[in-house]
Amino acid sequence: MNIHEYQTKDLLKHYGVPVPPGRVVHTDAQAATVAEEIGGSRWVVKAQIHSGGRGKAGGVRVGNSIDEVRVIADEIIGTNLVTHQTGAEGRLVRRVLVEQASNIVREYYVGLIIDRATRRITLVASAEGGVEIEVVAKQTPERIIREIIDPAVGLLDFQCRKVAYKVGLKGALLPQAVKVMKGLYRCMRDNDAIMAEINPLAIVDNGQLLALDAKMTFDDNALYRRPTISELRDFDEEDPKEVEATGHGLNYIALDGDVGCIVNGAGLAMATMDAITLHGGRPANFLDVGGGATPEKVANAFRIVLQDPAVKIILINIFAGINRCDWIATGIIQAMRDQNIQMPIIVRLAGTNVEEGRTILSTSKFPFIIASNLNDAAAKAVTEVNNIVQKVVPLKKEHS
């Protein structure tokens, strides 16, 4: 789960990480009031959406007077901000963070990740602040400093000093850097985050270190024990179909193709998408119905896949282990009947109770296209979708 920048900064403040004075607001009038309250002569107005690249997209701007802050806030709030992460449709800005602007002397990167190779939380730092760390890692990997953290003792002062020295945070900055790194680590550990980064961590003109931007991602599997973090979830930032799917115990991710997919198991779901792609088709979604799928769950899967207007056909690929093909087939029939589905449905069933499942489908009144294996299923799906597309194209031409 992701949270907004202002929420991350609120959290970090509690762990002793210095952040600029500021507050989140929902209107231009509030923006002006907050600018006045926090004081100073320059302010930054920052769009609060769950996306990187806000600055380049015009979502982070500086105001040199209270009036300018008001005008900028008015312009940003209510726009659809298009960044390299939002897709072409962009993301509606509902609130902005108004902060005192800082005079930056130098920028650094400090982050924590869970390193999959060492199975440890790892502190990552670089003197190349303000740039995406992936870019630094690719272009100048020698400029990235890493320190692996032993969970039994946590991040130690000397480890912070080692990292700080290597990126060039020396003298009076050293104790400040230790405080920031340890605060970030404690915040990550105590709240079950899986990623935390300050980018940039800046030296400002009074010689202080300040976290100018920060981002944290939390472990969905640990939210049950982090109620205060759960409350920070912003459903407006998530795909409503994905939220609904989660509510039904389904795992759904929207993609941009036209072949709807209903599969059991994440690996098989990905492989099914791959097979469709290799046959020249485009999957509309990833959907894992999970183990022990009841007929109701299957029917819900249809409902969610069909909310995507781009879907032209549906491919169902089930290899039942703890699932049962007869339950899946019953769910398919239920969906066909209750949701009045007219598009072609390709079904591949294998595993537990496969004969019962096939019988349920073949004795129904619906014209299912039965596939014998994964390859057959993908080939039939792509043939069907191509037939539909070819029929539609000349029609469009006649009308234009």
């Binding site: 039994a152 994440a266 492989a271 998408m273 792609t277 290799l278 999957p283 290899f319």
Partner: protein, 290 residues
């Protein structure tokens, strides 16, 4: 395979009297797995499925000589159950739970250091050695004894591969799911080593997916140390970056995480690679004939 689950393995289940553990313990016993009891705190001294129930793993090990444990505790309690099994000296610990907090697994892996325990999973269908037994939730009827070792991150994709192999008359020595989580107990390379040392295995199929460095690390290890043919597939060719594809660990965070990058590296390191998931069985057959 002799290392992880063989005819001498003595199996217990933690969370034994729960609905899932009961069902899968019975299934395991039906195919000959030597189940010797189970643990459910608070139910020690009773009998379940005709076997003794203990309050602690330590007691169960002392009374039954168990060396393999299938953990069916739900995610919030799984880390504690794993560490209890490590503490009791269990050698092979199979963790079925899907949804264990990742920092719990970081702590578990630290706790495991210096012990002889091997953790399979979490978020795994488990281990099956056809003809000998299983600890897990996979449908045993699709597997058949043979000489191909399988190691995979995904469960159902493992079944898919087995079905394709069965159509070509290929059976399995063992099939091991290492699980779909970002921090897991045993990585691909460790299992490859076990298969390389196993006299019952002729070739190994490794089924990976997007996210993490494991597949390429294993391929590097294999190039140096493995003589048996190694076949690899990586799911998620069409997965978008930055999205978790069902499994907590299946996410493209960098260029090296993509299916194409991994497959290309595996091919460059001399492995037999499968690009189309429908060709898994055929590629295994081609590899053992070469």
């Amino acid at each position: 395979m002799s290392v992880l689950l063989n005819k001498d393995s003595r199996v217990i289940f933690q969370g034994f009297t729960g609905q899932h553990a009961t069902f899968h313990a019975e299934e395991a016993m039906k195919i000959g797995t030597k189940v010797v009891g189970g643990v459910t705190p608070g139910k020690g001294g009773t009998q379940h499925l005709g076997l003794p129930v203990f309050d602690t793993v330590e007691e169960a090990v002392q009374a039954t000589g168990a060396d393999v444990s299938g953990i069916f505790a739900p995610p919030p309690f799984a880390a504690d159950a794993i560490m209890e099994a490590i503490d009791a000296g269990i050698k092979t610990i199979v963790v079925i739970a899907d949804g264990i907090p990742v920092q719990d697994m970081v702590r578990v892996e630290r706790y495991r250091l210096g012990t002889n325990s091997i953790i399979i999973g979490p978020n795994t269908p488990g281990i099956i050695t056809p003809g000998v037994g299983k600890v897990g939730i996979m449908p045993s009827h699709i597997y058949s004894p043979g000489r191909i070792g399988i190691v995979s991150r995904s469960g159902t994709l493992n079944y898919e591969a087995v079905a394709q192999m069965s159509d070509l008359g290929l059976g399995q020595s063992s099939s091991i799911g290492i699980g779909g989580d970002p921090v897991n107990g045993t990585d691909f390379a460790t299992v490859l080593k076990a298969f390389e040392d196993d006299p019952d295995t002729d070739a190994v199929l490794m089924i990976g997916e997007i996210g993490g460095p494991q597949e390429v690390e294993a391929a590097r290890w294999a190039k140096k140390n493995m003589r048996k043919p190694l076949i690899g597939y990586v799911a998620g060719l069409s997965a978008p970056p930055g999205r978790r594809m069902g499994h907590a660990g299946a996410i493209i965070s960098s260029e090296s995480d993509t299916a194409t990058a991994k497959i290309d590296m595996m091919e460059a390191l001399g492995m037999f690679v499968v690009r189309n998931p429908a060709d898994i069985g055929a590629t295994v057959l081609r590899a053992i004939k070469s």
